[in-house]
Each structure stands twice: as C-alpha cells, then as structure tokens.
Symmetry: C2
Subunit: 349 residues, 2 copies
DNA sequence: GTGAAAGCGCTAACAG
DNA sequence: CTGTTAGCGCTTTCAC
C-alpha cells in the first residue's frame, strides 16, 4: 500500500545509526547534542520528509502548546476580528489555537469545552453565549488546573481572568455626546441584562442620564438580544407604541442595522426622524447611509491581551494571580448623531 | 499540590476492581461489555469527573477525528461565513475542526499545514492565499495519504478535490445584466489572474463582452488584489486616466467598498457617474448607500460540501475519487446596477 | 464478557 | 555528548 505508516524518530535514527533519543534531542535543538550531529539529523529528517507526531510528543511531555478558544459566533465583525487577533498573537508566540464555535448555544459550549479539555489544551479563552449562566463546566476547568480567561462576555468567577472593554464608560460617552447635541428623549436597545455587556452598557446609559438629570423612560429600555432582529423588532415596537424617542443607542452594530432596516421600511429618516449610535464598529459602519457613529471596541488589543494573559498564566501556573483588564474605548463620530438637534429641526421645516 | 495529574482509565478501573480495558471499552460503548458494567463504569466516570485524554486515544488508535482547515482570512464576510458553516457541518458529524489562518501569507500557510500534519488531522480543507503558487507542501500532504479538499481558492492538482462557486457563470450573469441595462463601457477590478477566482471571474467578464460584441478595453481590466485598497487605488487610477467607464465589476465586495470610498472622496455619484456591482455578498451590502447589487456566493453550501466531501474521503480512503463540485450563484439586485442607462442620463440632466 | 500483553511515537531521567 | 530504561494514557489483538 502507498499508505505506509508515518516516518518515526526511530526510522531516521536507524538511518544514522544513532538512538532515537539523539534524534529527538537534535530535532528539538537540545543543547546536549553536538552541532554536527544536530545538523546531520536535521538534514536527514528534512530529506526523508519527516513529520513529527505531536500527539505522541504531547502525550509524553504533557504539554500541548495549544490554547482552546470558545466563541459564540464567527460571522460577526466583532468576533471575526477578535479571532484574527487571537490567532495572530498565538502564532507569534508559537502556540496553536484550537477554536470552537458555540453558536450561542449553551450545550454546544459545554461540549466544546469538554473536547478542549480532552485535547489537553494548555489554557482556555472563552467568550460565553448570551444564555450562559451555569458555572459548572468552568469550575471543572479550574479544578483541572487549566488557566481560564474570559474575553468580552465574561462570567464573574473567582480564579479566572477577564479582558473586557470599558462597556460602561464607552456607553456613557456616547449618551453624553447625544445629550450635548440636544437630545433628551433617549432609548436603548439593550440586549440582555443578564450578561455583562448588556448590563454594563445599560449602566453607562443610566449614568449619563442621571448625570444630566434626564428621566429614564422604562418603555424605552428595550431588551431582546444582540442581533439584527432585536433591532428591527425593537424599533418596530417603539414605532407602534406611538411614542418615538429622538435618539436610540443600540447595544451592538447588528442591532443598529436592524433599526436601519425598520426605519427604512417605515419610510422614516435618520437623523431627521430618529438618530442613532451603537456600541461596536465594523468594516462597513462608514459605508452605510447615513454612516453610523459608534463606540469603537479595540478588538485587536482584546485578542492580544487575552492570549498574552493566558500564556502568562500557563507559564507561571503556580504564582499567577487572576487579572481583570478593561480596555478603553473611543467614540467614532460619523453622520449619525452629529447634527445639533436645533439645526435638525430647522432643516426639517 | 492541587494540580494532581489527570484521572486515567486506570484510576477508575481500580475503583471498580476491573481492568482498564473493560473501562475503555465500556466508555466507548463497545459491544463486548455487558449493559450493567457499562452503566456502572459510566456512572463512576461521571462522578469522578473523568476527562478522556484524546492525545493518548488518538496516538494508539491512529485517528484524530479532526479536520484541519487553512483559510487566508477570518475578518472578511465570505470567510467568516464559510468558517461558520464548516464548523457547523463538522459538529454535526462529530468531528473537530482545527482552524488556522494564513493571513494571505504563503510561509504561514506552509507552517500551518505542517502543524496540522503533525497533529495528525484526518483530513485537510484549504483555501489558498492570493500568492500561493508552489505545490510542494500539498504534494507532501498527498504523500502522507491525507485527504485534501480545496475550497473556493483552489490549486489545480491531481488527486485533490475542489469545491468552488461558479465564478465564471456568476460574473457572466452580472455583466450581462449591466449590458442589458445599456452599459457598454465596462471595467473590471479583477484581483489577480494567477488565482482561480481572479481568472474565472475575468473569463466570465470576457464571455459576456464577447457575446454582446463589446470591445474589452485593456486599461479597464485592472489587477491589484482583492482588498479594499485595491478597489480604492483601482478607481483612483481609473479616474486619473481621464477615461472613466460607465460600469465597474468588482471582483470582491471589499474591492467594491474601496470604490465607494474613492467615489465618495472624489465627490462623484453612484450610479450617476459610475455604476457598480460585485462578486460576493455580505451582511451589509444592503445597508450601504446605494445598496450594492452582487453575485451571491452560497457560503453555507460551500462549507457543507467541503466538509462532507472530506469526510467521505476519510471514510473511503482507498476507493475515493477526487471530486470537483461547482456551486451555482445567483444575482442579488439592489440599488446599484438597476436603473436603465437612458433613464439615468435623463435624470442627471 | 473480561483481561493480560504489547505497543502507538515520543520524551524525561539518568547513566555512561 | 550519547544512549538506556521507563513510561505518558490509551487501544488493539488475542487468550481465557
């Protein structure tokens, strides 16, 4: 058969009349081995097309040089950028990433974490689903001594590290900006309050309203999720209620897109009839019409920090203290939420 | 130390006064074992929080139940959707995906494939970088007997399977549509011709122009890549040349976005001054202004087929014949490329 | 039905 | 510097 089993260290050892150990060491650049033999071994390995067997290597060395990652979504600008950054950082640190996708499904999340544990990853980075409440699986991870870092969507658990963006402060800045523009009737499409990003973005909204002495209309704090449908339905309901706010803060950019779709369908105008801003940038916020102002999340930095923190913990497994890093955000101002309300009213007359 | 080594089959065997073999078989549902013992073993394993060790399992069974994937990019709508589909299909087939990202870099691509081989994946799905020309690494994959499936961006190699979209036919339909609208001065921002998607999308353009007896202006076939910058620069150069076409077909949607940016910067209007369409949809093509007509790529189907084909090959390793599947596309018509040229001219007077 | 023996390919610890 | 000895945790024969 063509499909002869793979070449092993032994094969190349025989070829050179040395022991497998010598070959193993040579290939890994172990200082035990003399320059010449090392060179020779490498040459032969190369010629023979030797491919190491990581399963064997990892089994005996009890390290995998891999970090497991669990995210709820891939086809979403925030996550795809985050993932890219995680891959990049890992690559530069000679670590493999084993990515899994929970599809916002708790059971899949658990299954994937079990698989990653079974693969004996050296560490774990996870961004939980919108529904994750049960900590049991994460307790199991901790019990097995695997470093665990939450990123963006976190669970409050002792012994784990977190990397988040400044959801509360970022939202505050956005709402404050809207208020300074003259808006007072402000709504928030707020996702879900049970998850940190939903809660903190709500709190930032509350902070700003309080600071400026504006009342919060409970009917204008609308929960329903983080996707386009949530934005679409949210706005439709707002419209049907007959009591439209002047300004909407959308908890994510898909939610904002949903609002755009609804507004368009209703024949309304942004910013004439309703103005908007959202949390989270995307590659196209600047191309949609009107271009969408937002609170930018530095995804690249999030990914960097998440990986580096995890690596750090892997390398100092016994002395590591859990860290909680919050990355600052910045406002990106484009066409929405950029015209003073007074001017807007003048114009629309 | 808390960090006691993981539980093993032996541990749970001792607990029950049976052999590791019995436990191993029981856990895997091997028919050798009686219902009762199987039940019992599973219960104890559960209670003790046993986590199997896939490295050991795979080492001895010589299968990994994992498919390696190499893509050039993640933060791009096409790839992120494709990836999501691949993950989904694999999940439903109880296979793991080990994803790697080449970042359009040939050396990284090679490194990742070597890692994947070393991890002993059961199969490989790859979408090559824009620069990949050298087949050596893929020959190595074949020599090791690992099923290899190219998706979307393919290399022409005997013994490998491919899943692509109908690039040529899709482009043909788009250009034909533009011609029917009255456009004759047609340009293409064509990516690179050395890669199948660039070449075939060009050929579709050529097919349509030929069919309708329209001349192809060489200055209007512009190569330069598949990203936003290629679109931006391409249009800028077109503009500077003083000889603008009426219609541009962009080889990808980022290229189209680049054109939008350039057009905007120059104070021109779509579709008044220039009309456009592109290959590839995204979550926001419909939100940008004017909304962007395009040739839709069924990414979900691509992912399904790629995984299923690979799995098929894994399971019938000796009898499998390489397959080449081309998935059809459809036109999605929105605001661009939707107004008859005559009307357009009337309007702009 | 169950288990003892052997080995997957590699590395760690120690001896020479 | 090099090699021997023992596993890593699991699965695969093949006896019993």
């Amino acid at each position: 058969m063509n499909k002869k089993s793979h070449l092993t260290l032994g094969d190349i050892a025989k070829q050179l009349n040395v022991s497998t150990v010598t070959v193993s060491k040579a290939l890994r650049g172990h200082p035990d081995i003399s320059k010449e033999t090392a060179q020779l071994v490498k040459k032969v390995a190369q010629e023979l097309g030797y491919t190491p067997n990581y399963m064997a290597r990892n089994l005996s060395s009890k390290k995998s040089f891999a970090i497991g990652v669990v995210v709820p979504k891939v086809a979403h600008f925030f996550f795809s950028s985050l993932i890219e950054s995680i891959y990049d950082t890992a690559f530069h640190n000679n670590y493999e990433i084993i990515l899994t996708v929970s599809q916002e499904n708790v059971e899949r999340e658990i299954k994937h974490i079990e698989s990653l544990l079974a693969m004996r990853v050296d560490g774990l980075i996870v961004s939980v689903t919108q529904q994750t409440r049960d900590r049991a699986i994460f307790e199991k991870v901790k019990k097995q001594g695997i470093p665990l870092t939450f990123v963006d969507r976190v669970l409050d658990m002792p012994g784990t590290s977190t990397v988040t963006v400044d959801d509360r402060g970022g939202t505050f800045k956005a709402i404050e900006h809207a208020i300074n523009l003259g808006y007072t009737k402000i709504a928030q499409l707020a996702g879900y309050p049970e998850i940190n990003i939903g809660l903190n973005r709500y709190l930032g909204f509350e902070d700003a309203m309080k600071k400026y002495g504006l009342p919060i209309n409970r009917d204008w704090v609308i929960y329903g999720g983080f996707g386009e449908d949530a934005g679409y339905n949210g706005f439709m309901n707002l419209y049907k209620s007959g009591n439209l706010p002047e300004f909407i803060f959308a908890v994510t950019y898909p939610v904002a897109l949903g609002v755009y779709a609804a507004v368009d369908e209703l024949g309304l105008k942004i910013p004439g009839d309703i103005d908007i801003m959202c949390f989270g940038n995307s590659d196209v916020n600047r191309f949609i019409s009107p271009s969408l102002s937002c609170v930018n999340q530095p995804t690249e930095k999030l990914g960097n920090i998440a990986v580096e923190m995890t690596l750090n913990q892997i390398k100092n497994i016994d002395s590591f203290e859990p860290q909680h890093i919050e990355v600052p955000t910045e406002l990106i101002l484009r066409e929405t939420c950029s015209v003073f309300k007074k001017n807007l009213e003048k114009k629309s007359i």
